[in-house]
Symmetry: C2
Amino acid sequence: MPIIVQKFGGTSVADAHRVHLAARRAVRAKLAGKQVVLVVSAMGDTTDRLVELAGQVSRRPAKRELDVLVSTGEQVSIALMAMAIHEAGYEAVSVTGAQIGLLTDGVHTEARIRSIDTARIRKMLDRGKIVIVAGFQGVDDNLNITTLGRGGSDTTAVALAAALRAEMCEIYTDVDGVYTADPRRVPTARRIEAISYEEMLELAGLGAQVMHPRSIEIGKKYEVKIHVRSSFTDTPGTLIMNEVPGMEEVAVSGATLKPDVGRITFIGLPNRPGIAAEIFGQIADRRVMVDDIIQNVTHQGQMVSVSFTVDGKDVGAAQAVAESLAQHFTNVAVEFDFQLSRLSIVGLGMRAHSGVAAKMFKALADQNINIENVSTSEIAISVLVRRDDGERALNAVHQAFELDKST
Amino acid sequence: MPIIVQKFGGTSVADAHRVHLAARRAVRAKLAGKQVVLVVSAMGDTTDRLVELAGQVSRRPAKRELDVLVSTGEQVSIALMAMAIHEAGYEAVSVTGAQIGLLTDGVHTEARIRSIDTARIRKMLDRGKIVIVAGFQGVDDNLNITTLGRGGSDTTAVALAAALRAEMCEIYTDVDGVYTADPRRVPTARRIEAISYEEMLELAGLGAQVMHPRSIEIGKKYEVKIHVRSSFTDTPGTLIMNEVPGMEEVAVSGATLKPDVGRITFIGLPNRPGIAAEIFGQIADRRVMVDDIIQNVTHQGQMVSVSFTVDGKDVGAAQAVAESLAQHFTNVAVEFDFQLSRLSIVGLGMRAHSGVAAKMFKALADQNINIENVSTSEIAISVLVRRDDGERALNAVHQAFELDKST
């Protein structure tokens, strides 16, 4: 019998009523002849409340104990979900990460899955039960509770789908799929019916927040078909899957905007081997997350200028590190610009279509929007623009590539 | 190094401040040269709130899932307690019932402890850590989470103290010990310094609510010294321990009142073998908890009258059962009296002192209080009185045996 994994996020199990709605979906899949595994997150803002509680007790709570604390959130959800399915008249059983032997490394609050023992789940499925698994959590070799960090429940769901060779992993969430752009910024944005893992990875990395890149990577590695859809409607969402013939016919699949980006530039660095390694080594040591790096030669090759960008929330830390770094060199200036946005377009078709970058630049030029920096990957092009121009730039590019039109 | 087990109930860990107070006690015991194991309950009304949440999802939640749900309450507490001890600058580690291999039978919501694997706890203690154990919970042979039912955290604490051969099990609670009578009813009631397991069992069974009889039974079986004391003061509480020389010098150690007791009497039953078995078998089948049973012969041995008493909250169910039972017999009447209280006195010294019952009856007679029924055990005497007379009777007996005077 084919197995289906359904994952319900925090908003999809926020109260008793929604738990019942989710339970009903599971029962429907069961009645359609599937073996059903549910993965659930903590209810609504439970995790935030638990972290706040920890903050009342300790300024810097130990990560091991934070994991013991916050993992209770998912445990509450699995019990309630099992009760809701029983109430609907079907058999269900809840299991924690420890109970299904979801083994992780020992990195508390950011653990990685090592293996899943599917024997127990398969046995329960074969007895006709709907199995409800606590997302986000596992145990290390010594039975210490670990959590998987951001996107943890998605990761649990996709990893389980891989381990069980499920025919589908459905991710139920509060949006009804992946859009060509954020509908709050682009009124004409359109839901994408199917998208490749590669494109979805780029979109997620560039600001689309539907799924965490980590779970998509696992999906890609094990070829798990992922269906991102709304828990409040029955309309199909977006399929994330292997590239299929025809996908490349579209040059651009989607556009993203990171509205709040800061750029830091070192000017007058000596052009010698190891200079970039030195700078970014020190930045990494101080745990500042760097987005893009742009290096250019100046003064007839004598010197280089090096820029890097950081997320808006990190500009304070980045500035402090950069200023202290600049003092290690003589005659090196450091410049800051914290009023930028990053606009990106993503599409498998870029590999086959020429002129995609030129078309993007023209769309921005037509709107009199200046481009500050450009960076590219195989299937994405990103530009930095003034923050005030961000949304206008996004809409211009969305229209230029006709993303509002169905394919 | 001697081991001490400290148990903190729900009111003793109700908020961050109280968690810190409890943590400080653990640290003090550690500084006094002990290896310290803490057992903690769920914070404040957490368990009630979780049960209410279950009620929102299901009218009759499955007991297995209730256990998964409510066991999260203690898991939250152990994590916060570990954080509080870290904050005080000491090493601590939290463990769930599953993590220490606290094995129980599979009776969900009312499981019994089968064994505790102390190896892991001892290893952590030997590394200098304060070990914090989730009370009330364990796992069965298949790793299903089970809870121990009423008095569960006390039971965990005393069982752990037994398994670890601890020199003391301290039960921190919101009262400062065991009293000669409930201080809310008897203003002159006095804290008892030391009491035997047997007396404490009788007192608990007869209405004193400081500790559940179950944990005292385990304490008695394994000779665990139990110290019941306040989590809000430093004054010593009550020691529950083996009988020591001198304990019998006092005839009566304490008095209890169950204010709300109902009595049901069958009149005119045939006096033949098996009649009591038949009646109480059917009552047990309908899950009515019977307290006392009194049977007397009437009509020159032709007939018997049988009374039994039930807790006030069960009179409705008991009445229904009794009325349907009476219809099985011809000419059997059933009478109800739901306006009674049960007054009891308990003391090891009864075994050695004569005239204890007579003294109790005289104290009541002097107050013009009628005695409706009498029942006795080796170390307790109980009488039923009109409910209106209950508190007056309790005070009269308390004074007659000079329970207010220190020994």
